[in-house]
Each structure stands twice: as structure tokens, then as C-alpha cells.
Subunit: 247 residues, 3 copies
């Protein structure tokens, strides 16, 4: 199985699929092709959320503002998975979630374009990795120095957790890096979120439509939400903003 | 085969796919993941339109504003199909179209989250139902009382049909519940739609670009349309509005 | 393999998938379903870009403003591929890229609707073509007169190339019909694009974020771009506008 993720929108992902289908019988599963454009950090966050649900697979992930520059192309082995994509950090948070990462660099032969390495470099590499043994992978790649990317950790203290908003999903839920237990232990109580009062609930529907709540999101972190509305707007936060919870 | 439908946008549907792929070799086919958000009625309408085109399959459908509350999780058997989703009516109109529905309730074991039952409850259930015999399904579920959802029927009388707009598609076509024969019998004539005059045509292109028409949509109902434009705007109607046709 | 492309948005493409799955075990791969609405020319452009990456397949492509009129339904054989869609030119540029096209007309039996031939005519035809031998195809179709569509060619002269913008992609890159060599031979130099100065670069990232550049796109043509921005806006061009490059 090869999963595909990118910020390409449409119809460029189909060119990656065509290239892979021309070289491999691997089953293809789309993860997302509307990842926030050229936002390596957001892509890394969502890959970390979603890829661990998959069985062992090759995961092609191309969010690549540096396409055509001398940034390297990587294959990261982690657990029984392999991730293929540009050397800008996008693969690493998911890889660490999947296992203990080993990072390889792929030789980039003269590609057909300098502007679409998804089609010309990474899709062929994903097809090759899918068919390759670990020994072949070792033999056809080289040692890499690579760009890392780590998400900050929240501080949980006495009466206060200090973190930040890592992502906002399409529903408007603001996903923080504050561990879910901070909310899980306080269901039914109220917290001050960046100074403003909000109830802690187990489900969105526990409050009236349009009302704010603090809950534990599906990723296991504290989420700032509105039942049938947008939490990011109601709490006035965007990605990277501080999220301080006091009780 | 397992089909997937939701209002999750992106990339959450990929987590459902990952979970299913981890538990089943079933072929996956996406129906839609941009169903109108948290709009159970719209989702029920579109599932009823699309699912009958499929061969026997398990249909996972998650539009679920009540996620995490005590609403039940259902498996609805209908014909040789099975539908899996929340107990809010979303599955029933499609199920009735596919056969004579039998409704089962799935035991919801302690899920990983209270906010993403698509991943933690319904995707595992769909994988299990896909592999299960009818006897196993019977044994592992329990008798259900369930929420129904039915679309209103139009009244066709002497010189007048009175119905409502059930859905508006992405082209702007306003799909009513008035039976298509009301228009099919009057192609080439003119009708008064909510008092305003419009021609009845077999195809969009029978009128000039930008012009209104009444036609029989692909669902077999009367549709209020504009050639290369939006019928909902031209006729001034939204979902739930009355659609009265007089001749 | 059957690939699917349309301007249907969602969820209508699922009805085509259901119909095909009911008649064929062919593997399905989505190309795009958000092709510019009812824009035959844009669809023809993107199909020409993407379909040649695929191995031999049946390509279903439905952008069809004339649905239900007497426009014919075509199967175009080209190389080891077959393209299925309406007779409005949309299939031809891709077909010529895939091989030497032979155009057949499909008999349109009385379809279930006059408004959704994607489901009622083209999807069944694609399933039939997928399973058919060349002889069967010959026997079940008839000689066609058909609508052609060709993209204009640019003129490259002494110190000047005169072409036009063929498409704008989702990133805002304005893709011209000027051959890529015009830019490839001048990397590091500057050109006047419709009179305005811009550098020629091999990669988007060669200029600062927000800055304009001329580059060779993945399609092999000159592209007017902005690093991390929209080239169409920065160069003030839309599809069909002239693109004159002087050096």
C-alpha cells in the first residue's frame, strides 16, 4: 500500500498516481491533497495524526516549498512503515510516532522538471521503495543529514497549563499541545482559557449550539471548540498562538 | 467493498481509511467527504441518491453532530447492503431505497475518543460488518429502537403540484420532491414556479446560458435550474422552501 | 484500470463509481472532479497533462455542458488507452498525446436521465469498453464525425516569443503555450513579459517569497509564477490572454 498526501490541490496528485501505477501494482490510498499550502509544519502535524492509523505502508508526502533547490529527498523507515518526501522536516513527527526513524537520502537523478518533484522524483521513489527490500533500500540510498521538526511541548504546572495552538481543523477546532488529561480530569468544571471562562466537556453536544467548550480532541490533546461552530474564532486563536489554561 | 461518506472534509477521512485497512482487505470507495456539515437531512438525501448505484457493499456514513453523546451506533441491513453510522436518521432513506431495512444496534465499547467516533467506533464497525455473516451480525448486535427520517412527499393535484426543495447541488440545481412526471409530461410548455414563469425542458442546454428552466433531474424529481448558472439563486429558493408548480 | 475525471464536484462522481463497480471489477483511480465547471477547454488541457502519466487504461472524462442534447458520445482509442466522454473536443488533446487517435461513436440507448449522462451513458460505456476487445469495440460503435479541439501554438522568433496563457493552476501559476526551451536557455537572465521585467529561474525558490519569476513548468512550457504566491495576479493574466516574452 502507498498512501499519498500533498498540498497540490487538483489535478496534480493524479500525475503522481499515474506515475506510481505505471511502476507498481501497489494499492493507493489518498490521505489528503489539500494540506495547507506550502505549510510544512501543518502537514507534519496532520501526517502525525493520521498515518499511525494505517497498517505498514509506504507514505508519500509532498509539501515542498523548496522544490528544485538542493534540498534532499528522503526515505524514512519507522516501524514497518516507510515515508518518502522532501528533506524539510515534514516526515519526521509522523515517523517518530510510527517507530524509531532511520533516515536515508535518495539520489535525485536528473528529473524531468525542477518544479514538480512529486511526479518526477518522489512518486517514482515511493514505487521503488514499495517494491524494495530493506537491503535494497540501504544499497540504493546514502547516509543523510536531515532537517528535523519537533512540536513544542506544553508545560503543565500547579493550576495552570501553558501551551500553544498546533493546528486548526476544518471544523474550526483549535488543537493545542496541552495533554488531554488536563481537560479529562476536569470534565464538568470550568477553566480560564487565555483568561476567558469556558466549560470542560466530554462531547461537543454537551453545550448548546454556538457555545464554547474545552474538550479532549481525537488526537488526545486539549481542543478549543464550539458546538456546531468554530472554536478558533470564538477563542480568538490561530496556529502558533499561546493557549494558557488555568483552573 | 466499503464505501465511505462523511462531512469531515480533510484529512480526517484518511484516519477512517487507515483504521479499516488495518482490519480488513475490503476495497474502499469514497462517496463524499464534503457532505453539508452536520446536516443529517442533506446527507440522508445524497446517500439515498448515490448508494443505490453501488453493488452490494458496506456503506459507512458519518454525519454525526451528536458524537460522544448517548446516541446509538447502527448497522442497517437492506437488500444485500449494510449501512453503518450514527442513530440520527442519516442511514434510513438510503436503506429504504436499497431494500427492506433491518436495524441493529452496535455495542459501543469504550472508544479512544468522545469526539471522533468515525475513527474509533464506526470504521472498526464497518470493517467488522464487512467480514461478518448475517448470523454473526445478529449475534454481536442488539435490538434497536432508532431515529427515523423521511422526506416529505409532494401533492400533485389538478393544475398544481405542491412540494418543497429537498437539496441544492453544487451546480446550484434546486432539487424538489415533485415527481419528475409533472415536468416530463409538459416538456415544451411553461409552468408557474412559485408564481414565476419558466419553460419546461428536457435538457439544460435547451435554453440560453443564464436562462431558467424546469427539468427532470437525474434523481427523477423536478429540478429548478439555470443553464450554466445557479437555479437556486434564479428561483430564489433554498432547502426547505416551498416549490409550487402550476400549469 | 478506469480513471475518472469530471467537473461534477461532489457527490455525483460517486454515482459513476457505483455504476462502474456494478458492472466491472476494474480498478478505479480519480483524476479530478473539480475541473473548471463546464469549461471543455480547461478540462482538455488538464487531461492532456495528466493522463500520459498512466499505464494503459480506460479514461472516463465528463465535462459536458451539452448533456442531453444530440451531441454524440465517443470512445477514442489512442495507443493502448481508450478515452470515453462527450463529443465536444475534451478527449482529443489527451488522446493525441497518448497515441494516434481512432474515434468511435457510442450508440446512446434511451438513458435514465437527460441530465446525468456521466452516470447513465458514460460510466456504463467505460465499464463496457474496459471489458471489450478492440473487435467488440469496433462492432458495437459506429463511424464518427467528431468535434476537434486544438490548443494554439506559440510563435518563437528573433528576440521574441508570442503565445498565450493556456491554463492557471491552483497555485496561481499561469501556464503558457510558449515552449520551455525559451526559458531554459535563459536561466539567470531577465525577460520582458508583456512588457514587464522578470527573472528566468529554474525553481520557484530561486526568488524571494512574493517575487515574480519565469520558469519551465512541469508540463514543459513556460510558466509565469510567483514564489509562494500567484503568478496570474502578479503578471495580470488570465486564461486566453496573450503572453509575449522578449529578450
Amino acid at each position: 500500500m502507498i498512501t499519498l498526501a500533498s498540498d497540490f490541490g487538483s489535478p496534480y496528485p493524479a500525475a503522481m498516481k499515474g506515475v506510481i501505477c505505471s511502476r507498481s501494482d501497489a494499492r493507493l490510498v489518498d490521505v489528503a491533497h489539500d494540506l495547507p499550502r506550502q505549510d510544512v509544519r501543518a502537514a507534519a502535524f496532520w501526517l502525525r495524526e493520521v498515518l499511525p492509523t494505517f497498517p505498514p505502508a509506504v507514505h508519500l508526502a509532498v509539501v515542498d516549498p523548496g522544490v528544485g533547490t538542493d534540498r534532499a529527498a528522503l526515505v524514512v523507515e519507522a516501524g514497518d512503515h516507510a515515508l518518502v518526501g522532501p528533506d524539510n522536516g515534514v516526515l519526521l513527527p509522523a515517523a517518530r510516532e510510527l517507530g524509531d526513524p532511520t533516515v536515508h537520502e535518495i539520489e535525485i537523478a536528473d528529473p524531468a522538471s525542477a518544479t514538480f518533484h512529486g511526479r518526477d522524483v518522489f512518486a517514482p521513489a515511493a514505487a521503488a521503495v514499495h517494491g524494495a527490500s530493506a537491503a535494497e533500500l540501504e544499497r540504493t540510498t546514502r547516509t543523510a543529514e536531515w532537517v528535523d521538526l519537533r512540536f513544542p511541548e506544553a508545560t503543565v504546572g500547579d493550576g495552570r497549563a501553558t501551551g500553544e495552538v498546533l493546528a486548526v481543523d476544518g471544523f474550526g477546532n483549535a488543537i493545542t499541545n496541552v495533554p488531554g488529561r488536563v481537560a479529562a480530569e476536569r470534565v464538568g468544571e470550568r477553566l480560564a482559557v487565555n483568561g476567558a471562562d469556558a466549560p470542560v466537556e466530554r462531547t461537543y453536544a454537551a453545550v448548546d449550539a454556538g457555545e464554547r467548550l474545552v474538550t479532549v480532541g481525537s488526537h488526545g490533546n486539549v481542543e478549543l471548540a464550539v458546538n456546531r461552530g468554530r472554536g478558533d474564532e470564538a477563542f480568538g486563536v490561530s496556529v502558533g498562538d499561546a493557549a494558557t489554561l488555568a483552573w
